[in-house]
Each structure stands twice: as C-alpha cells, then as structure tokens.
Amino acid sequence: MDAIKVSGLTKQYGDIQALQGVDLTVPKDAVYGLLGPNGAGKSTLIKALVGSLCPSGGDVSVLGLNPLRQRAALRERIGYMPQGLALYQDLSARENVQFFGAAHSVPDLAGRVEEALEFTDLRARADDPVRTFSGGMQRRVSLACAIVHQPDVLFLDEPTAAVDPGLRARFWSTFRRLAQKGTTLFVSTHLMDEALLCDEVAVLRQGQVITADAPARILERGQTHLLVRQDGRIEERVVGGHPEDLADALHVYGLSREIGAVEVRGDTLETVILGLIEEAKR
C-alpha cells in the first residue's frame, strides 16, 4: 500500500485556486520531495494531507485514512513540522517536546523525549528556554517535536528554509536516517538542488503538479552541452541528457589529433526543474 495517495485535489480561496487538481502517489519508506517556487501551493497541499485544511474537491488518503474523517486515528501515526517554528518560546526544548509528545498515547514518553532530543542533537541545551536558541536550533526543536512519537509518515514543510548550508546537510542526513528506520518523509522545499536528496519528487507550480518522478529521470530531461575545440575554434553542440546521447554526439568527431579539448557540461537538476517550470508557464 502507498503511504500517500492524492487524486484530483483542489482548494479554492475566494477567486484564488490554490490547488488545481493535484495527483500524487508516495510509496512507503520513501523520502518524497515536493518542489516548487514560493506560492506554488506546497503548504496548502501539506495542510490538506495532515487534515488541517478542508479541500474544495478531490480525494486524499494517508496510510489508507482520510485526513478529515479519520483524523483521530491518523494523527497518532503522522508527524508534522510546520513552516513556522510553532514552539512555546518561554518553555525549554525538553518541555516543548514533552508537551507535544504527551498528546499521543505512547508508552515510555520520557524515554522517547530523550531519544528525540538525542536524535536532533539537543541534549546539551535541552533545559534552556527555546527563545535563547538560534534559528537553526529552534528548527531542530521543531523537528524533535514532530518525531517524538515515532510517526509512520512525517510531513516537513520547508524544513531547511533560511538554514545555513552546514545545518541543511545535517538535516538531510537526519531525514535519511529516519527513512532508514522506516519513516516515510514528505518534504517540501523551494530549493531545487534538494531534489537530488529525495527518492522521488513532484514539482508543483501554481497548484498543479507539472512533473513527478525520480530525480535521476528528471535529470535525463535536461541537455548536455558539448564544447569541442578544433583548429583553434570552439564548437558547441547541445545534446540530450541521456548518457547515450553524449556517446552519439562524440562519434561525429572521432578522436582525431585536430581536437584540442572536449568539455561536457550537463544541466544541473536545478536548471532542468526551472526549465520545466518555465515551460509550464508557456
């Protein structure tokens, strides 16, 4: 069974169509990325998946449960890290994690709180008030609150926005460890290069999924720029993103002595995704 299944999901706010018939399937135990520029509808989609938003139309199922009609059963099994911090600033990290963990009927809550603090590397300052923490540390507290009850599916809404590159890398290695432990992660981001860190991604633009695939397959839709220096001049050829395309292109030249240098520049995943978004605009 898939962890998440969405079909024909729409959400209308007055005249604004925030989601326009979204279809998605997220396999279990995957790290699934939801990519898109600001305002694409990423948070709206996540809110519909966690049951804090009533869709205008379509079907949503998370772990086989409807997020609105079966919300009590579902909420025991999902974790949610919102885009904002959503923490009690005057409480300590441990008190925040304890409070949100206590909402669930989990055995050995105290042990799980310590585990979540350890996992997010917060033990050293667990008893300090959250307001004394840096932005990055507060994000780690927010993550600890979302994983304390060891959910089956974890929704992370732009967890790495406004986070420095070092912490971003740590966050992603944490996500990967969670996936290895059997958690399905649904991560939204507007940072296109993070797509490579996911098993599968969906690209959202103006409330519509413009593509959903494995990052490597999306990368194949890009182009390879072949720059060949021959007789003192540089010739550029654009070939497809597939490895065979490059081999075909090189056949033309053979390996004659006239060729001074060959440079191959492939599109990055970010360029390909931005290209797809631009294409969708047209």
Partner: protein, 245 residues
C-alpha cells in the same frame, strides 16, 4: 481529561514564567481600587460607598480576567502552536478546558487580592460568612470572564481582531448589569441584553449579600446561572474554535 490536564499544566508553567503579566494582574486592580477610593472620598457624606466598592472590584476582576484571556488562543493561532496541537491529536474541548483550568489560579489570585484590598481600604465591616460568599461570587465571575475571553478569542484570526470585542463586552457590563443603576429602570430589550453578561448575576448576588439583613437564600440561583454560563461557553467555544481552514 488526561490531555486537558497536560494543557493546563503547560499553561500554568508558562504563566509562572510570565512575571510581568503576573505582576500586572495583581498590581493593576490594586492601583485602580486605590484610585477609586480617592474618587469616593470626594463624594458627599451621604454617598454610599459600600453600594459600589465590592461591585466595582468585581468589575475590575471581570475586565482583567476577560482581557488577559481574550488574546491567548489567538496568540496560539498566530504562533502556529494551535495548529500543531490539533495535528498532534489534542481536541477542541480539551484545549478550551486546559486553558480554563490553567487560568483558574490567576482568576483566584485576582479575586482574592481585589476583594481583600477593597474590604481593607474602604473599612467594610462584613462578617466571615458574607466575605466567603463575596469571594465565591467574585471567583465565579472571574472564571466566567476567563471563559468569555476564550470564547471571544475563537472568533479572531489575529490579536488585532480581538480588540473591538473588548469594549463591546466590558462597556455594556458597566451600564446593563446593575453596577451603576437599577436594572428595573432599563427598557426591556436592554434588560435582556444585560442578562447575557456575567457581571449582571454577580452584581445581583453582591448587592443582596451586602444589604443589611440580606441573605444568599434569595439570590443563590444567580450563582447557578454563573456556573451554567461557564459550562455553556465551554461547549460553545469548543464548537467555534476552528480546527480546519
């Protein structure tokens, strides 16, 4: 119930760390009651201060309890912690109940401080029984005001949207609850409007109990109304607190 207590414990923990808010909650009624004393001292000797002293203290407790609580749930909403509470499985009635329980301590403190000061400052010579009833009624009023604040806050999406409600609730209380004038003199519609305000019931009990020869026997149903008021608002707020966008 377990989750209601978890929320109440968290609210109390936060309140105890809000030294400024706690200090203001105690000092503000003290300062206002003292100003009231200065004002009453300017009145002619025939003026009955007792008729107004305790009811005005009750109004202050009502106003402050309402004000402090009117923005609490809105703050939770704007901070995103309300949404997080829901997604973690807390339910609406549990959240409302947790806040009510959490603020009971503050309401008790305010009722005790305001009543003690007004009795000492105005030299009111009430017996222990009367004082006990006065405390119960002011305390019940404080709890009802906390609940009214929470109920009102369920209609607002931001702190700014709460402010118009504050005069809308507290100013009619001054005129329609019998604090300044006899409610029998009001037009029928205004009299009925006054019955929607908790201060009306508290004031009726206070006026009777401080009247020479007055007893609780005549007016105890007003205390029951206050209790019912709290229960009804809890039920209503549990419906009006929106969980889903």
């Amino acid at each position: 119930m377990r989750r209601t207590l978890i929320i109440a414990r968290r609210v109390v923990r936060q309140l105890l760390r809000e030294h400024r808010l706690l200090g203001l909650s105690v000092i503000a009624p003290l300062a206002i009651v003292y100003l009231l004393k200065l004002f009453f001292d300017t009145m002619p000797a025939t003026f009955s201060t007792a008729r107004y002293a305790v009811p005005v203290a009750a109004f202050l407790v009502h106003f402050l309890s309402f004000l402090l609580c009117a923005i609490v749930l809105v703050q939770e909403r704007t901070a995103g912690t309300l949404e997080r509470m829901f997604i973690n499985g807390f339910r609406r009635a549990e959240i409302i109940g947790g806040y009510l329980l959490g603020y009971l301590g503050l309401a008790t403190l305010q009722a005790a401080v305001a009543l003690t000061e007004v009795v000492l400052l105005f030299g009111l010579d009430y017996g222990v029984g009367t004082l006990a009833v006065l405390f119960v009624v002011v305390w019940l009023l404080a709890v009802a005001s906390v609940m009214l604040g929470i109920f009102i806050s369920t209609f607002a999406r931001s702190e700014g949207q709460v402010f118009p409600f504050i005069p809308l609730v507290t100013v009619p209380s001054v005129f329609l609850s019998g604090l300044l004038l006899d409610t029998a003199l009001l037009p029928t519609w205004a009299d009925w409007l006054g019955r929607l305000l908790p201060l009306r019931y508290a004031n009726t009990v206070i006026q009777e109990i401080i009247r020479p020869g007055g007893t609780i026997g005549e007016v105890w149903p007003n205390l029951a109304v206050l209790l019912g008021y709290i229960a009804v608002l809890w039920a209503l707020a549990s419906r009006t607190l929106s969980e889903v966008e």
